[in-house]
């Protein structure tokens, strides 16, 4: 009886693995590409991984998507496994500075690693992402145009997080080019509660300090949460009809909803997650064709979201 059970157990494990092996080996001889991420459960990541797989369908690729369920050290382990397997290219979606050990192993083995919205790193061939500078320029110029290049603007910025910090720099440059635009304040909200509540409190204080209608022409926010907080403050103060223009960046669902209703929150910028996936697939094709890619970052165009397209 015991013997029987043990045998069944070993047999079962064996056959399951054998069946899986057959499925896996059916796609041999193609270029082997591994996509490794700890964040597959997150919506943005899902979009670009799916777009990458769709783009890969037309090519002779054997794509292996590996999700480590939030475990960053496991990303290193899986990169090592893939290096050991001698895959043709590895795509990662994780902060490269946290997986340097794996990237070094890939480099030593001569296997190219491409970042898919990962962050720029010398150990990556390149990183495909959205252009933070361009996104900030989109909304800053939108604000400048809407207020006809004149009036007081409140800016919500965040210096501590590099991708958001660059947005503030660009907006400052745009507004600085209009002599009649005055920056009332650079506000850094407390983001520990998500950023909306504290932005609202800060905006309420600014509204109180500037009670004259028209004394605030616009609110430019480096991301959507402060924009939503400012909107709440303006509505709560009953000043929604003064024509204060609000813009954010990122186009999160809450922001899209606010923009679609046609209130003060007028514009935000959406990253093209599918485009990031498709472009990454293109980059992999170029790398496999032995093209030397010179840019450390490859930018995918973003889209300005206003009331006309917010519901899409």
């Amino acid at each position: 009886m015991t013997l029987h059970n043990r045998a069944i157990r070993a047999l079962l494990a064996g056959t399951t693995l054998a069946a899986l092996a057959l499925t896996a080996s059916s796609a041999m001889a193609a270029s082997k590409i591994a996509v490794i991420t700890p964040y597959l459960a997150q919506p943005g990541t899902q979009f670009y991984v799916e777009a990458f797989q769709a783009a890969a369908k037309g090519k002779d690729w054997d794509v292996n998507v590996i999700d480590t369920a939030g475990d960053v050290a496991a990303v290193i382990s899986r990169i090592e496994d893939m290096v050991n397997q001698n895959v043709d290219a590895i795509v990662i979606n994780v902060d490269p500075t946290q997986v340097t050990a794996g990237l070094q192993a890939a480099k030593d083995a001569g296997i190219p690693v491409i970042g898919m919205d990962a962050g720029a790193d010398p150990l990556l061939v390149t990183n495909v992402t959205s252009n933070g500078y361009a996104m900030a320029a989109e909304t800053a110029t939108y604000v400048a145009d809407r207020i006809h290049g004149a009036g007081n603007v409140v800016m919500f910025v965040f210096e501590a997080f590099p991708p958001v910090q660059v947005r503030g720099v660009v907006a400052d440059a745009v507004f600085g080019n209009f002599p009649d635009i005055k920056i009332l304040d650079h506000v850094t909200p407390d983001v520990s509660d998500g950023g909306i509540a504290d932005s609202r409190a800060k905006m309420e204080a600014i509204l109180a300090a500037n009670p004259e209608p028209g004394s605030i022409k616009a609110v430019w926010a480096a991301w959507d949460q402060p924009a939503l907080g400012a909107l709440q403050a303006i509505e709560a103060a009953g000043r929604q009809n003064e024509g204060i223009v609000i813009t954010g960046i990122d186009a999160n669902p809450q922001a899209r909803e606010a923009i679609a209703t046609g209130g003060n929150f007028e514009a935000t910028v959406a990253q093209d997650f599918k485009g990031i996936g498709t472009t990454t697939a293109d980059v992999v094709t170029r790398v496999l064709a032995a093209e030397d890619i010179k840019q450390g970052s490859i930018y995918v165009p973003t889209q300005l979201i206003t009331a006309s397209n917010a519901a899409e």
Binding site: M1, T2, L3, N5, R6, R9, A10, L12, A13, G14, T16, L17, A18, L20, A21, A24, S25, K32, D62, N64, V65, I66, D67, T68, A69, G70, D71, V72, A73, A74, I76, S77, R78, E80, D81, M82, N84, Q85, N86, D95, T97, Q98, V99, T100, A101, Q104, S192
Partner: protein, 320 residues
Amino acid sequence: MLTVLRRYGTLIGFAAILIFFWISLPDTFMTARNWLNISQQMSMLIVAAAGMTIVMVMGDFDLSIGSMASLAGIVAAILFSFDYPIWAAVSIALIVGLAGGAVNGLLISFVGILPFVATLATLTMLSGAAFVVSGGKTISGRVIPEAFGNFAREGISLGNWGGVAVSLPNLTIVALIVAVLVWVLLEQTTFGRRLYAIGGNSEAAHLSGVAVRKLKLIAFALTGGSAALAGVMYASRVASANPTQGSGLMLNAIAAVFLGSTLSEHGEPRLLYSIVGVLVLGVLDNGLTQMSVDSNVRQILVGGIIILAVSTSSYTRRLR
């Protein structure tokens, strides 16, 4: 023959898995390089599972080791940001682990809370503490000393094997040292034998003069300390610290100890068997990844194998 099979069924299953991968991946699986990779990938889990074995010998659990590992990584990283030398930051992180484990021990042996409840509570507290200390952020970049990140990347060179430079990773060496220490502690000392006595029958052990409470306190402290060490190793491997990064260790460590305990005569945890358990998990991860098996399918398979091993083992034991 039958006894051999009963005792070593899991081992035979493990051998079957190895042979299967060896045949399926003839060029890349059974190589020195891959095995050194696996040993490095599993080093943190070996340390965590070794610590878990200490309390599981007494029939107890420690659910808080994952949070403890995260907190220890965060503590070390925060101290780095205050320019503490590496040895000091790591030592303090390990002391935090020992202290946290001792609190578990106090709650369980002196206050008398069930280990499941006590360590579930400390799991939450330690996890919260990791968020508070780090401000919820990942600590990475220039704050982390280069030597700390390099430690996990380097090892002792073993020379060239077939044209490939091979080295014994530092993390593997740390795991081996911990394994030897815990093995000696559990198998070769009175302390270890007493822990097994508590696991066999706590009341009887108490009546025969074993200081059950004191021993439990020490055992939990050691488990906490090894969890902290695993967390520091993790932080070194990713050259950063994040308030949730150790959370995967707890369930895997318990799984490994359970898987290993199917190898022992009476189903009690043994350090060497726990390491076999870790290796089963590690080899499955490594082999199935190399065979391009979908990562979600891989998780189902790993869980299935644990159920199979443990259930057949308990089933055959009942038949005896």
